[in-house]
């Protein structure tokens, strides 16, 4: 554990006061704090700040001693170089090893776009589009012309709580989502509409055999599960007209 502390002292001019143009006081303060206390100074006509390093404190009271020592050094030097006696508006102390750990990590947020999100969720772009309109997906932080941008943490959190059923294929999952959003007791869809929803063609047997539309949950009928799971069943399968009705 480090014994050193980084202390920030920030000063603001009272309303109506400011440093005169060409005033060299801040340069003089920078000279001395850089040379003697590893200091960094910011400043304008209406205020300034100094961040310096201090150390050698009693371990039990190091935090308050660091704050007090930092404030005393900075304000003492400010007075010496002729800066006006303006009020302190911020006083912070952070242990140097803690600050080092913070400075190791970028302060730019971890963000992701559509391509990264589809990879993280292992879904198609179309499925992502559906998820976004489900009302359960995080809202992007910003929508650029190139697309939406999310915080990575928001996507990770969504993934943690996303109730994706294992083994279900994404294409029929999309049909389930679509039917779930419909409130009518009977929903008639053309095969072409279903293909648009699932993002690809139906298997040839769907157009040839009414049995493909059977309400069978047994076996690996993922397509039937997509409507049976939400309490619907197929009725009026019309292969010639290429339509099917899902009823509650």
């Amino acid at each position: 554990m480090s014994d050193g502390w980084s202390v920030l002292v920030e000063i603001e001019a009272p309303e109506g006061e400011h440093l005169r143009a060409g005033d060299r006081c801040l340069d003089a303060l920078a000279d001395v704090l850089i040379a003697e206390h590893h200091g960094i100074i910011t400043g304008s006509a209406t205020g300034w700040s100094a961040r310096i390093s201090v150390d050698d404190f009693d371990p039990v009271h190091a935090d308050w001693q660091a704050v007090e020592a930092g404030r005393r050094i900075v304000m003492g030097m400010a007075e010496k170089v002729g800066l006006p006696d303006w009020p302190v508006v911020r006083l912070e102390a952070v242990r140097e090893d803690v600050l080092d750990a913070e400075l190791e990590r970028s302060n730019f947020p971890d963000v992701v776009g559509t391509q990264e999100v589809t990879k993280l969720l292992d879904v198609s772009r179309q499925r992502l589009h559906e998820l976004r309109h489900s009302g359960r997906f995080p809202t992007p932080m910003i929508e650029l012309a190139a697309g939406p941008i999310w915080l990575r943490t928001a996507i990770d959190s969504f993934l943690d709580h996303w109730a994706r059923k294992p083994g279900r294929t994404s294409r029929y999952d999309a049909l389930r989502e679509y039917l779930e959003d419909r409130t009518e007791s009977a929903v008639r869809l053309t095969f072409a509409e279903i293909e648009r929803i699932i993002g690809g063609p139906l298997p040839a047997s769907a157009r040839k055999h009414p049995a493909w539309w059977a309400n069978e949950k047994a076996g690996s009928h993922a397509h039937a599960q997509s409507w049976l799971d939400i309490g619907r069943r197929t009725a009026k399968v019309d292969l010639n007209g290429a339509t099917v009705e899902f009823v509650k």
Binding site: S6, H38, T42, G47, W48, S106
Partner: protein, 86 residues
């Protein structure tokens, strides 16, 4: 300490400080004033004009002043370290 500048960070800055200054000026919209015209410290002027200019040391840096410098840059809205390419 608040005069605008259009200079490029050069050898007047210690290398570790120069590396940060170049990133800020080239990639983050900050400006740099080498201080020669004013006869003062070089200044880094944040992209966010409501933040105050930072006086950059010209003497060979040490770990502690570099730490304080990076913390000050971040407080003024600078991104450091820049995020790495995924």
């Amino acid at each position: 300490m608040d005069e605008p500048g259009g200079d490029s960070p050069g050898r007047e800055l210690p290398q570790d400080f120069r590396e940060v200054a170049i990133e800020l000026v080239r990639n983050q919209g900050w400006r740099y004033d080498n201080g020669r015209r004013r006869g003062g410290h070089p200044l880094l002027l944040p992209a966010d004009r409501t933040k105050r200019p930072i006086a950059v040391p010209t003497t060979p840096g040490d770990v502690r002043s570099l730490r304080n410098f990076k913390a000050t840059v971040r407080q003024a809205g600078g991104i450091w370290p820049p995020p790495r390419k995924r």
